[in-house]
């Protein structure tokens, strides 16, 4: 097998970090986004649900969290775009021995606020938030989440009991939001010491009480730093918006073929523009097997289907919760991967699409970034 040697990338290039069930891949393009080169696999044979590029503080640091089917989940960094990675045990990542919990998978790697360039967060399975304050050299679980009184009542969905979404208040370092499946949305106002459920108005079809305080199967939550209190939520059945950091949610599933889906992404500059991939609630594929990304540009007031260039028949494609992302160029690039190993991209905000790559292992993570 060909060794992964890393990728040559320069300022202004667009980088796609692709996580699959069999390793990670890097796709690079110039700013025109009309030709892509691929490099990989990194950590071949390992599930790669979480990848990130941290460009704070002058870094160009890739993070990867492979889950080896035999030897478990490890965390690695690379400062040369995958040319070399830190060793398996160089960055210890474990639950405390007395917690009774064993790390299964990392679902999210979130660099902290720009003002705190050495702070990073991880969302892991079983559901917990980990934090590093030394640039990722060492990690520990956030106590308030680890010992949350709801922990015994959380139960896993098909994907496992995972904390998959971490949103930071760009202004107030004491406030952040986490979302997990199942369990729902939790928010802290005290820097992580306490976490309160914020699920009022979010449906739980699979429970006797359809609107419980917690226990919802939230698939993804997004917001924009310019308007952080406005949240959009893709639920396991249900599409919602909150204008107050999750205190209340209201249904915005008007004009979509299904309110079921996994993935959701926010536009890089417009806090009212959001992209989703509605799926049939049973098949987990696009409704009528017509693959379309849906976009709202008015905060969920209306949605439009974007399918120009995407297969419109026999498209039994599934995009999972971290399989959709946007770059930060103008016009914005939109990218998504599928369980059948395809990566699609748009360089015009979703108006037209092209197949960037085919034949990959099932894609579970797509992260887009422009090299600073």
């Amino acid at each position: 097998m060909q060794e992964a040697n890393g990728i040559e990338a320069k300022s202004g290039d667009v980088l796609l970090l692709i996580g699959t069930t069999k390793g990670g891949f890097l796709l690079r393009s110039g700013a025109r986004r009309d030709a892509w080169e691929m490099e990989g696999p990194h950590f071949p044979g390992s599930e790669m649900y979480a990848l990130a590029l941290d460009q704070r503080g002058g870094r160009r640091r890739l993070w990867a969290a492979p889950s080896n089917p035999f030897w478990g989940t490890t965390l690695h960094r690379s400062d040369d775009f995958g040319g070399s990675w830190s060793d398996k045990e160089e960055i210890p990542l474990r639950f405390p021995d007395d917690s009774g919990l064993a790390l299964k998978r990392v679902w999210q790697i979130t660099p902290g606020r720009d003002a705190e360039p050495d702070r990073l967060f991880l969302g892991v399975e079983p559901s917990c938030l980990f934090e590093s304050t030394d640039g990722g050299a060492s990690w520990k679980p956030v106590e308030g989440y680890l010992k949350h009184p709801h922990r015994d009542f959380w139960s896993p969905g098909n994907g496992g009991l995972c904390l998959h979404t971490i949103l930071l208040d760009p202004e107030r370092s004491s406030r952040m939001l986490a979302a997990q499946s199942t369990g729902g949305v939790y928010r802290t106002e005290d820097g992580g010491r306490s976490w309160n459920p914020r699920n009022q108005g979010v449906r739980a079809d699979f429970l006797p009480d359809k609107y419980p305080e917690f226990g919802q199967c939230v698939h993804k939550v997004v917001h924009h730093d310019s308007r952080p209190e406005r949240l959009f939520l893709q639920n396991h059945g249900g599409l919602y918006r909150s204008d107050d950091w999750g205190d209340e949610w209201r249904d915005i599933a008007h004009g979509v073929p299904s309110d079921f889906g996994f993935a959701m992404a926010i536009h890089p500059t417009d806090p009212d523009t959001v992209y989703i991939l509605p799926l049939d609630g049973f098949g987990r594929w696009p409704v009528d097997a017509k693959l379309k990304v849906y976009r709202t540009r008015d905060g969920g007031g209306s949605w439009e289907g974007l399918g120009d260039g995407l297969p419109q028949e026999d498209a039994y494609e599934t995009t999972l919760r971290d399989g959709l992302d946007t770059d930060t160029l103008d016009p914005a690039g939109i990218y998504f991967g599928t369980r059948s190993g395809k990566v699609f991209g748009s360089s015009d905000e979703g108006e037209t699409w092209t197949l960037i790559k085919d034949g990959l292992p099932p894609v579970v993570c797509v992260k887009a970034a422009v090299i600073a």
Partner: protein, 94 residues
Amino acid sequence: MMTVTLVVPAVLRDLNGGRSSVDLGSEVGTVAEALDRLYELAPGVYHRVMTEVGEVRPHVNVFVGRDDIRWIRGLETPVPAGGELYILPAVSGG
């Protein structure tokens, strides 16, 4: 006294200074004791074999000689003087 040896699979040897085995000494009577000793001598290897809750990872097999400990007494499987332990990935995947 004859010492117990743990054979490290090639994929984990970077966590053992590149060496293919760990000499666990002669005070080892069970697999649990052997793994405790492994934790002291090569913690990186230990953490890839065992979870935080002290269980062998689901797709890792531990053998005493030719015997898979899952079919004997698990972590309480006796280790004979001079015995060899093998850590091997299970046959799985697709």
